[in-house]
């Protein structure tokens, strides 16, 4: 790693970060260029503006709602200690890492026409609610992204040094105005942007719950252009528009966010003196209960429906599951290494490169990579390494969002001491940075592993006969009318994703009381 000559003032060599940024650039913009080059020109269809409008509208609503709801939940989780809190936090993360169709079927079991909510309304003699439409899309996106928002904001709370709370308490100062509001102002725009970008590139949720062609997103238009029209030019242009939209969103957030000037504490769990009154306690209990119900009830339905199917799973599905686990681990390792390299390099360019995959269309990325590789090798032979690499790059933004602030905090808090001791490069990384980074590293790795295991995007384009992954196997079961076995495979997928996430996150947190 960073062992070479190091410039004065730069504690880490820059080249690993630069190499990571170049790789990301090649995989995102490079693949787009490959598609464009093969197409030889671009095209735009008449209905595409309406598509762009809907895409922005649903993404903005989803992001705003997710973040707004996440604040009370994160605050409640930050200042309450109760048995099972760690497990609850892990479980709350589950929707984010679920394959879309699994999550959608879980949501429908609660909110659908035949779901529990409508059964309850029917029993009370009330008219049924329909989940289909813009509100359904937003509901599903909030279901997916509320946990992410909670985790990102919770990290902000956890990053407020315990000493500040003690000081505020002893001086009788308002915690909300002095500590929480500045933190939220620093964290919330970034969290909202990440969710906006995720929803911007949404495809299957918008299509399944949108209720019709009104709910067409840019990613669906790209899918159509690639699959049905084989119009590479239109796909490339739409992908470029998607990049543009994401860039605008990123710029807007840049203007809003203010740097976090909190300073470093002594790595302690914050003890809180505020929020001890009965109304606050009630509000916190309510926030946690509602969030848990909203997020866990659909998961419980996935489990309930999947249990009978588990026994029916053929051996090939178990083999696919083993393959998926290997890919997920490789992809997690790669994502964390790339994110760490970018975080240590720091700077605007590294941050931009790290966010770029959020804006990329995975369909265009896969197609471009295919076009680049096909003249040289049979892409099917590279299916598994390519899937691991692409999954790593696609989860890089999340890993970087977790690692970058932590690295910055460590540098702010311990950098001067490390400088004074002349620690640079690999030794500084090993002695100063990594030990304090265990928690974020575990969280980032778990997130990347879980995201990778549920991904269906690239493997579908590259998969040969012997390279089926678990999500692909699940779709093939559904395609063969085997809905019960597919529900079993979905449960297996849920268990594996959560298990991997839990193991890594736990391993990272070590024995910290958080």
């Amino acid at each position: 790693m960073a062992r070479g000559p190091v410039a004065i003032g730069a504690p880490f060599a820059r080249w690993p970060g630069t190499a990571a940024a170049v790789l990301v650039l090649a995989l995102t913009l490079g693949t787009l260029a490959a598609v464009l080059w093969r197409a030889g020109g671009v095209g735009w269809a008449a209905g595409d503006w309406q598509v762009v409008r809907f895409t922005i509208l649903q993404a903005a609503l989803s992001a705003a709602l997710s973040v707004t709801l996440a604040i009370p939940v994160a605050r409640a989780l930050a200042r309450r200690r109760f048995p099972g809190r760690g497990l609850l936090i892990t479980l709350l993360g589950a929707p984010f890492i679920l394959p879309v169709i699994v999550a959608v079927l879980g949501l429908l079991a609660i909110f659908g026409r035949g779901g529990l909510v409508n059964a309850g309304l029917g029993a009370l003699g009330l008219p049924p609610l329909s989940i289909y439409g813009l509100h359904g899309v937003v509901l599903a996106h909030v279901f997916f992204n509320l946990p992410l928002a909670v985790r990102l904001i919770l990290q902000g709370w956890a990053a407020i040094p315990a000493e500040r709370f003690r000081l505020a308490a002893s001086l009788g100062l308002p915690v909300g105005r002095l500590l929480e509001r500045p933190m939220l102002r620093a964290v919330v725009p970034g969290a909202a942007m990440v969710i906006f970008l995720i929803c911007l590139t949404s495809f299957a949720v918008a299509l399944t719950l949108g209720g019709g062609p009104r709910a067409t997103t840019v990613e669906l238009a790209i899918y159509q252009a690639l699959r049905f029209d084989f119009d590479l030019g239109r796909a490339a242009l739409l992908a470029a528009v998607q990049f543009g939209l994401c860039a605008l969103a990123a710029l807007a957030v840049w203007g809003l966010a203010v740097p976090d000037r909190m300073g470093a504490g002594l790595d302690r769990v914050a003890e809180r003196w505020d929020g001890a009154g009965r109304p606050e306690r009630l509000a916190d209990a309510l926030a946690i209960t509602l969030a848990a119900l909203f997020l866990l009830a659909p998961l419980a339905m996935v489990v309930a429906r999947g249990l009978p199917g588990l026994a029916e799973l053929p051996p090939s599905v178990w083999r696919a599951a083993a393959r998926s686990v290997v890919i997920a681990l490789a992809s997690a390792g790669l994502a964390v290494a790339l994110a760490l390299a970018l975080a240590l390099r720091g700077g605007v360019r590294a941050t931009l490169a790290g966010a770029l995959p959020l804006a990329a269309s995975s369909l265009v990325l896969g197609t471009g990579l295919f076009l680049l590789l096909h003249p040289w090798v049979n892409p099917a032979t590279l299916a598994l390494p390519v899937t691991a690499l692409v999954n790593a790059v696609m989860s890089l933004p999340f890993a970087l969002r977790v690692l970058a602030p932590a690295v910055a905090r460590i540098e702010a808090g311990h950098g001067r001491l490390a400088d004074a001791l002349g620690l640079t490069g690999w030794r500084r990384l090993r002695l100063v940075t990594l030990p304090r980074l265990r928690g974020p590293l575990g969280f980032a790795g778990g997130l990347a592993a879980a995201l990778s295991i549920g991904d269906l995007g690239v493997i579908a384009l590259f998969a040969g006969p012997q390279t089926e992954t678990l999500p692909l196997a699940m779709y093939r079961l559904m395609g063969a009318y085997r809905m019960e076995a597919a529900a079993g495979a979905a449960l297996l997928l849920l268990a594996l994703a959560l298990g991997l996430f839990w193991l890594m996150d736990r391993g990272g947190r070590g024995d910290a009381a958080a």
């Binding site: 299509l207 096909h374 009318y481 809905m483």
Partner: protein, 327 residues
Amino acid sequence: MRNHLISVAGLCLVASGALGETPVLTVYTYDSFVSEWGPGPAIEAAFEAQCGCDLRFVGHGDGAALLARVLLEGARTEADIVLGLDTNLTDAARATGLFAPHGVTAALDLPIAWEDAEFLPYDWGWFAFVGRAGGEAPASLAALAATDLKIVIQDPRSSTPGLGLLMWVKATYGQGAGALWAALADNIVTVTPGWSEAYGLFLEGEADLVLSYTTSPAYHLIAEEDAGYVALPFDEGHYLQVEVAGIVAGTEVPDLAADFMAFMVSDAFQSVIPTTNWMYPAVVGPEGLPAGFDTLVTPAQSLLFSAPEAAAIRDEALAEWRAALSQ
């Protein structure tokens, strides 16, 4: 001396080519064909028993994804045969010039006349709305639109059954297709990306009816012994899906490919189709159809645009669909 060595090496290469590895026939198809519940495994065993070759099925998504894959690979494709396109896709496939004549003449049991030098059918089915037995059963698309029944359909921009329904409406209502879609709009619960999602939602109770095939109830009857599902017969006719295969012109094993095409319409292939692909075989064998298929509805009238017609009206039909459902 050196020339001698080279010629020896050359001879060895020729010999290894002729005597060494068994020839490989690569068939690109859609995913569900190759899955262990699909027709792939049985057909592979049967063909390899007679051809002295290695038959390799490679699955690529659905029919549309399959064509996209072939287009993406172009002349460098590794496929010798592409199996799983339907008449909505063959026009685009033919236009690539990648396909060679199949040279097979067979008496096909299709409900329509079939004439195509490049693409040979291996199975077919009627699109139909499938629901639970004993439910309300309108007898036409217009009658369905007049009911309060909730339906799930697939997006014609991302799935072949979705495109089939688009053609069905166009074939039946012509200029009135847009109006029919507008009338149908309040029945449509949602539009899914593919068949699997739609059928899954239907089984979850999200809709009364789902766009599928007249043969879908046969799956529930034969594989699950559940007679609780029916396809609704519409007296105005049902649109057909005819699934075809073609030989890639650049194949290095043209004789083997031709053998496979002949095998494809033989009983060894065709008898596997009904209870694995859940479609009608293109040639009904001496044993007839499996028990249970006699309980299925058989539409009096079959509708199908020719491949060029389908290609010509697709964009207009898509625009009508989109306009009607975007209100």
